[in-house]
């Protein structure tokens, strides 16, 4: 049943965000056309507009998803959603997973546009600069190529985890906005509670990192967990890299707890209006 829920939620999501992606396509097309005009002013203006558009797409995707979840889970369409013979946990998981996918795609588009913009504006000079940094003796003294790859994988994973956890925070905010007495703020409540939950997750991670600053030590040979400052220094001495993980880990734990709270709220507190 979970597979069927995800399949159908992807269809619902596609209908909701299709307009957003159409906008992205048009923005990309405008950029492509502006490439033909070899004028510096046009180049810079279109770059700024493109970055703003790419960022707006992330925001609009999030807002579209909030509205879609409100409708399909707690609005009139909730009458159908909540009379399906499926577990509440599967319903919540499916909504979270599909929302995460859409937000992640919009984020990828945003980062890809920044990278594209960098090379578009800086041209061959920018490419050469990055190449020289990566190949410079100083850089290889600081970090080896093998470690760099591990850092890149770790940071990419962290980005994915962050989008996943924030999606759960938003899902919690939407759910809370349908529970008495929090429901009085309506759709605005969904945005406010989501924002508060994101802040709570952020500060919880920071607080946990102060208590125990656990990090991953990346060396060409292995990846290990380090806690003490001495151990971290030892890794840096051999050109390894240290990446903190406490905040990310705390975020994941917080998101999992929220997942179970959402299920409990749906099963005990929420009446579909």
């Amino acid at each position: 049943m979970l597979g069927k829920l995800i399949k159908n939620d992807l269809k619902f999501g596609a209908h909701s965000v299709s307009l957003v992606y159409l906008t992205a396509l048009i923005a990309s097309a405008v950029m492509g056309i502006s490439l033909l005009a070899d004028l510096e002013t046009v180049k810079y203006i279109s770059s700024v507009v493109f970055i703003i558009a790419a960022f707006a797409i992330v925001i609009v995707t999030v807002i579209t998803i909030i509205i879609s979840i409100q409708k399909t889970m707690y609005g009139s369409q909730g009458y159908l959603t909540h009379t399906l013979p499926v577990k509440t946990s599967a319903l919540v998981f499916s909504k979270w997973f599909t929302s995460f996918l859409w937000v992640f795609i919009s984020q990828l588009f945003f980062y890809a546009s920044i990278v594209f913009m960098y090379f578009y504006v800086s041209g061959e000079d920018g490419f050469q600069m990055i190449k020289s940094i990566l190949l410079s003796g100083e850089f290889s003294m600081l970090i080896s190529e093998a470690v760099l790859k591990k850092v890149a994988i770790l940071e990419a994973s962290r980005l994915i985890i962050q989008v996943a956890t924030i999606t759960m925070y938003v899902l919690f905010g939407i759910t809370l906005s349908n529970v008495r007495p929090f429901h009085v703020l309506g759709n605005l409540g969904a945005v406010i509670y989501s924002f508060i939950t994101i802040l709570a997750g952020h500060y919880l991670g920071k607080g946990a990192a102060k208590l125990a600053d656990i990090a991953l030590a990346l060396t060409p040979d292995k990846v290990s967990v380090v806690v003490t400052e001495a151990a971290k220094d030892a890794i840096l001495d051999i050109n390894g890299a240290i990446r903190p993980v406490t905040a990310t880990f705390t975020g994941v734990v917080f998101a999992v707890i929220l997942y179970f709270i959402i299920i409990m709220l749906i099963e005990k507190k929420i009446n579909i209006k």
């Binding site: 049943m1 209908h15 009139s76 369409q77 009458y79 009379t83 399906l84 013979p85 579909i272």
Partner: protein, 238 residues
């Protein structure tokens, strides 16, 4: 619970804030009957149906459908038709049919497609471009294409004209699964009197009448007369 009982309710109370909608009600409803859930607007019919279908959770008391509290099992055997449109506006009849086919094992896709033809609906027309009557037909065909043990129909005749009312009633009566139970809420007692085996009347949050049609007729009264009598009394004590 006796084997012939499909719905068992004990000491059920539900309020919205300070407004007590269902006040400590208890009753049993038997399997295989067409049951009229009657009462004036705002008497708790929709609330009761929503509790039975698993949409309302914060109530006091015991509710059992086919021996189980509202949950996955009861949702699998219950076909629920709400008052409002619950389909996404971009859905077309074919999308809704595929959706039901995905989730309800008792759903008959061929029967649903036959209904689409019979109702002269375009299976590729979006819900948002349909009239209210057409939307109701789509929801009705989805529900009546299931072989459910229990049908919960909330005011299925509420928003339709008298001509369409007869057609809809005919579709419901001819297509619900044999041996299943049909709980149909309405305040149009006159139109449905001949269809019911049993009536459950609510008023002022209480069960005012829970009896078979045969007993009412044996008293030399019609359902409408009993309805006016008890609902009138309930209003007077309000």
């Amino acid at each position: 619970m006796a084997n012939d009982v499909i719905i068992k309710v004990r000491n059920l109370s539900k309020s919205y804030g300070k407004n007590l909608v269902l006040d400590d009600i208890s009753f049993d409803l038997e399997k295989g009957k067409i049951i009229g859930l009657l009462g004036p607007n705002g008497c708790g019919k929709t609330t009761l149906i929503k509790i039975l279908s698993g949409l309302i959770h914060d109530y006091d008391g015991i509710v059992r459908v086919d021996d189980a509290p509202p949950g996955i099992h009861t949702k699998g055997i219950t076909a629920y038709l709400p008052e409002k449109t619950y389909l996404a506006d971009w859905f077309r009849p074919i999308d809704a049919i595929n959706y039901f086919n995905d989730f309800f094992s008792d759903f008959d896709k061929n029967k649903a497609l036959e209904f689409v033809k019979r109702f002269r609906l375009n299976e590729k027309q979006s819900i948002k471009s349909m009239s209210k009557g057409m939307q109701e037909k789509v929801q009705l065909l989805l529900i009546m294409s299931r072989s459910a043990k229990l049908y919960l129909l909330d005011e299925p005749l509420g928003g339709v004209d008298p001509a369409a009312r007869a057609t809809i009633l005919d579709i419901i009566m001819k297509n619900y699964a044999q041996d299943s139970t049909l709980l149909l809420s309405t305040h149009m007692v006159n139109d449905l009197e001949g269809s019911f085996d049993h009536v459950l009347m609510l008023g002022n949050g209480k069960v005012l009448v829970n009896t078979g049609i045969a007993k009412i007729h044996a008293m030399g009264k019609s359902v409408e007369e009993v309805f006016k009598e008890v609902i009138g009394n309930a209003w007077e004590t309000d």
